[in-house]
């Protein structure tokens, strides 16, 4: 059984946020929820400044604090290492949100709306749907793909489980114009991700908490105190 993970090459990222949009379209997530989030930072003072980018999906930790914190088992780790959410079991305790140091859990306070990808006024626009988001996946046969499913539940990046089960890359990795996001089997020494990790210096975000994230960053530096976020998503 593979162990899926991601390797993000910061030296190739242009911070364009195509991955954020591709994620929204692929997963039909509600407004303001960005399962993949690309931060843009400015570092230093004029004229010794640098602009840096940091794409942040769910880390799909090997030791996921969210799974431990979940009171109902709605958050669970699949056999292939994907950390998934069963929205039908989720009671909205938001413990996962509190436990996760990465801020990747999004709670649907209201009935999901503003899902611009699929939610249109059907009196104007003929209805259409992505059937891949509505069928069960995995050993568990649970509907763990896609977002915007119900009020009062938590949703987050699934590593595009519905694509991965069909052998396709997650939407963010597939769309990336500069091929900065790599996805594959971390246990297979011949996989692209394993090779990249073997030949590059890498780090993981907040690894010190013992979460063992399966998202690795290469050819760059982690954000540090003093860096200023610019062009924040959502703006002013």
């Amino acid at each position: 059984m593979p162990k899926y993970g991601m390797v993000i090459d910061l030296s190739r990222c242009t911070g364009c946020r195509a991955c954020m949009v591709a994620c929204k379209v692929e997963n039909n997530t509600p407004q303001e929820n960005f399962w993949m989030h690309v931060f843009r930072f400015e570092d230093g003072t004029y004229p010794d400044t640098r602009v840096r980018f940091m794409p942040r999906p769910c880390m799909h930790c090997e030791n996921p604090p969210c799974v431990d914190a979940c009171p109902t088992g709605a958050r669970f780790t699949r056999e292939d290492g994907l950390v998934a959410t069963d929205f039908e079991t989720c009671i909205g305790s938001r413990y996962c949100q509190a436990a996760c140091p990465y801020g990747v859990n999004y709670f649907n306070f209201d009935e999901p709306s503003g899902r611009y990808y699929l939610d249109w006024d059907n009196t104007v626009v003929p209805p259409y749907a992505n059937p891949s988001l509505d069928v069960p996946y995995g050993e568990e046969q649970l509907k763990v793909a896609g977002g915007g499913k119900a009020r009062g539940v938590i949703e987050k990046c699934t590593f595009c489980v519905h694509r991965v089960e069909d052998g396709r890359l997650p939407a963010c990795a597939a769309v990336c114009p500069t091929n900065a996001i790599h996805f594959g089997d971390l246990d297979d020494p011949n996989s692209e991700v394993s090779k990249l990790l073997a030949e590059s210096e890498s780090f993981r975000l907040m690894h010190r908490f013992g979460t063992k994230p399966k998202v690795h960053y290469i050819n760059g530096k982690a954000p540090r105190t003093g860096m200023v976020e610019i062009e924040q998503v959502g703006g002013y």
Binding site: V21, Y46, Y128, E165, A174, V175, D185, Y236
Partner: protein
């Protein structure tokens, strides 16, 4: 290839489905855990190859279609420009397709113009009759008074060529805003119709001049390809210098940032020439053989010429032959031309133009340029040294079996051309490249994808200046070299007498095709005034643009991606391909494909059939072979025309080649023989000697003076680029900041109407240096009033926006993203804040030489 999952399941990965299915349906992921065949079989999906509709590079896409509806797009790996990926706009355009705010059917205005429109939806028949009859009337009177303008042009054969010729319309360019001064400088100097790109795959050092390389798309491309080339080059170890007032432009990839004062690029270029000449980093072979730098210049500034041979000959320019110690025709056999020195021919002192240039830049030292550009002299000298260190003069490389000059320092420049001295700044930058022989060399500075000479190589050298110019002042005494700027047209319309334009030249009817002059073009005031005068305005557009809302009489709803359109180039600097837009579904609402609309319109105006009609023009513009030519008495569909074109190109299956294939005709890698100027036969496509010295510019200057135009028009028509203070520097001192604008990918094209993109960056803002802002009492996110001032007329304009405090911008500069703001009537755009286009000025004082547009003005900023 239209592949269904069921088809795929019947075949294996390696056969039948082919590469497309391999990469897309099941591709990418190396280790597949389980693909539930029942689930896969249950989803009845198709992947229809098509072509992105938004930007200028027409990326390849695969539309995932379920039950006849597109539900998403992925990049097409067969397309050389995007290699299986998409940009944020490309992905987000799914919302444009289904946007309920599109124009649902033909609209006719029911209220007065100049205010937001009220509309009555009418049938296509009624709309076509209305527009067609009006068009026929205007054409019968004077076709030139029908103005046709298109935004980002696709399938030019159908629109820009066949339609414009059939109607005899006056064509306005899509803007003359993004880089036209650069195009003109390249056409004039080296004959290429493009600006500057480094030879990414062979260069060692990239000079990224302006913000295009990672944020703007730049030369020939809309966005995606250049960042791809850049990151690959960086991975090879290439280093890059970024010359831009803003760090955000290409900073992530720059090894050195040079925050130049906006509009002073020419001074920097001259200083780099000074350093190169000082260190004798000169490619004498190139300069002597392929440029006019050895031509002997007389005291009056014109070349010394041999006796004319016949009436049409002006006499060959002479060079000083060092072998015979005499003046000889520049192309005489065995001539050894001198680049330096002073010589006496028939008692008159003459100098090679290179000698004059050497004298011209002798005092343009890094210290001199430091004062002007605001860059440290040491940094300028260091850049010059870097160019010198990597110029590799005399070095060659073996490529595709040819031995070619290898000069691995390349310049990227595009949008920065739009500044007052843009034409001459680009000439100055070309001189940097020419001194080291890197124009058209391997690893050096390239321009268009292939070394194809443009007609302006000759045209711009032989302009007959007219004192009765047309609507866009082509060949006028004001801007003899002309870029067809529709904001300037607006000024002409408002005051034709000032420019000697006869009333009969003024527009009667305007046909706008996917173009929104009031929203997209700077100097909105001038455009509004012009639109007040137009009698009949028709917009072909999926949305109600600001221009249409205020001034259209009729709006014809165009489809977005759901139409046939093509053929379009899909090539890059390294590969050649043609793409086709194949409709992944039927047109939404009551919209029609653009080609179908032109067929309908020309039919309604009585211009479709018979000799000289639209069909006849299409036969010639599409170069349809006789066997496949369109009959001149039958109205075809867009698909039928493109089928004939495909058959004419010997593509098996005609249009099905694209429909059933990958919507692309891949023609393979471009050979070095096409890409490099030195590799063509004859070299540089025969367009040489390159105009190192712009003799004809001097000629134009004298004619302009003779025709009595003011100095402001002729002062920059000089053989060598001469730095002078920008006109905007005479704005009063309280206008103490430079305002410039830039592209931001989220909003780069106005066709990116998408709430998905708006969600990323909902409102307009202005970058301002943190220290500058603090001195003005402005905090991050504060509302600020920005007021610009026209240095010549004293007119002021202002907008209110939000301050975004940055370290990475010059303290004397503020900047806003452009083509952004309230450019159309749409809930996803309303409230987004004003566009900086409202602050810029067009024309005198803001653009010289080429009649295009400056994105630079002095402003003052205060907390609102």
């Amino acid at each position: 290839m239209v592949v269904t999952r069921r088809d795929f399941l019947k075949s294996s990965i390696t056969v039948g489905g082919g590469a497309l299915a391999n990469s897309f349906l099941f591709g990418g992921l190396e280790t597949l855990v389980k693909a539930d065949p029942l689930r896969l079989a249950a989803i009845d999906e198709k992947w229809i190859p098509t072509t992105c509709w938004i930007g200028k590079q027409d990326c390849g896409m695969l539309a995932r279609v379920i039950d006849g509806r597109v539900i998403g797009y992925e990049g097409n790996p067969a397309h050389p420009r995007n290699r299986g990926t998409l940009c944020p706009k490309g992905v987000a355009q799914i919302t444009s397709l289904y946007d309920p705010n599109r124009v649902h059917g033909p609209l006719v205005r029911t209220n007065e113009k100049g205010v937001s429109g009220t509309w009555r939806q009418i049938s296509w028949d009624e709309a076509l009759e209305l527009v067609g009859s009006r068009m026929a009337e205007v054409i019968a009177k004077d076709p030139g008074r029908l103005i046709w303008q298109k935004g980002r042009s696709k399938a030019k054969s159908f629109y820009d060529k066949a339609f414009v010729k059939t109607a005899g319309a006056t064509k306005l360019h899509h803007g003359a805003f993004c880089s036209d001064a650069g195009y003109r400088a390249l056409e004039y100097t080296v004959g290429m119709h493009a600006v500057l790109s480094p030879d990414f795959r062979y260069t060692d050092r990239i000079i990224s001049w302006g913000w295009n390389v990672t944020s703007g798309g730049g030369n020939k491309m809309c966005w995606l390809t250049w960042p791809q080339e850049l990151v690959d080059a960086k991975e090879r170890g290439v280093q890059m210098v970024s010359i831009d007032p803003r760090q955000r432009s290409a900073a992530h990839f720059a090894d050195e940032w040079m925050p130049i004062r906006p509009g002073t690029d020419l001074a920097l270029a001259l200083a780099l020439c000074n350093v190169l000449i000082d260190s004798d980093t000169i490619d004498r072979e190139y300069l002597s053989k392929y440029t006019n730098s050895p031509f002997l210049v007389q005291g009056n500034g014109f070349f010394l010429r041999a006796e004319p041979d016949g009436d049409d000959d002006e006499g060959k320019p002479l060079v000083w032959d060092q072998a015979s110690n005499s003046a000889q025709p520049w192309d005489a056999d065995g001539v050894e031309s001198a680049l330096e020195g002073e010589f006496t021919v028939d008692g008159a002192a003459v100098k090679p133009s290179f000698q004059l240039f050497k004298e011209h830049v002798a005092d343009k030292t890094p210290a001199w340029a430091a004062e002007i550009t605001g860059l440290p002299a040491s940094q300028i000298a260091q850049l010059g040294q870097m160019i010198s260190d990597h110029a590799n003069i005399g070095g060659t490389i073996e490529i595709d079996g040819m031995t070619l000059p290898y000069r691995p320092v390349g310049i990227m420049a595009y949008h920065m051309a739009q500044q007052e001295l843009g034409f001459q700044a680009l000439r100055g930058m070309l001189m940097v490249a020419m001194l080291i022989g890197s124009m058209g060399a391997v690893g050096g500075t390239l321009s268009d994808f292939t070394w194809k000479v443009h007609k302006n190589w000759k045209g711009l050298d032989n302009i007959s200046i007219t004192d009765s110019p047309n609507l866009y002042l082509n060949k006028s005494a004001f801007w003899p070299i002309n870029s067809n700027n529709s904001s300037l047209v607006a000024k002409v319309v408002v005051d034709p007498e000032k420019y000697g334009v006869a009333p009969k030249e003024l527009p009667e009817m305007v046909l706008l095709h996917h173009v929104n002059p009031l929203g997209s073009f700077p100097d909105r005031d001038a455009n509004v005034k012009a639109y007040e005068t137009f009698n009949f305005v028709v917009a072909i557009d999926p949305w109600l643009s600001l221009t249409a809302d205020l001034y259209a009489d009729v709006v014809l709803p165009a489809a977005t991606i759901e139409k046939y359109e093509g053929p379009m180039s899909a090539g890059t600097m390294y590969e050649d391909a043609k793409a086709m837009r194949v409709p992944p579904m039927k047109p939404m609402f009551d919209s029609r494909g653009d080609i179908d609309i032109y067929l309908d319109l020309t039919e309604a105006a009585g211009l479709l059939y018979d000799e000289g009609g639209y069909l006849d023009r299409l036969n010639s513009e599409l170069k349809l072979k006789d066997t496949f030519a369109l009959p001149l008495d039958v109205k075809p569909t867009a698909r039928e025309i493109l089928d004939r074109w495909s058959l004419s190109q010997d593509l098996d299956g005609g249009i099905e080649f694209f429909e059933q294939g990958e919507a692309i005709q891949y023609k393979g890698e471009l050979s070095a023989a096409k890409r490099y100027g030195y590799a063509t036969d004859p070299p540089f496509g025969g367009a040489y000697p390159h105009r190192f010295y712009g003799e004809s510019l001097l000629g134009y200057q004298l004619e302009m003076k003779d025709l009595g135009v003011d100095k402001i028009y002729w002062q920059d028509y000089t053989p060598f680029p001469i730095w002078r203070d920008l006109t905007l520097e005479s704005s009063p001192s309280e206008f103490d900041l430079y305002m410039t604008s830039y592209h931001m990918i989220e909003f780069k094209q106005s066709r990116t109407l998408s709430p998905l993109v708006r969600e990323l960056s909902p409102t307009m803002f202005m970058e301002i240096n943190t220290d500058t802002a603090q001195a003005l009492g402005i905090a991050d996110g504060d509302e600020v009033k920005v007021e610009s001032q026209n240095a010549l007329t004293g007119e002021t304009r202002s907008i209110t926006t939000r301050a975004s405090l940055r370290q990475g911008i010059r303290p004397d500069t503020v900047a806003m993203p452009h083509h952004y703001g309230d450019f159309t009537v749409h809930p996803w755009v309303t409230g987004r804040g004003p566009t900086p286009n409202s602050l810029f000025f067009t024309g005198e004082g803001y653009v010289t030489n080429t009649a295009d547009q400056t994105y630079l003005v002095k402003v003052r900023v205060e907390k609102a």
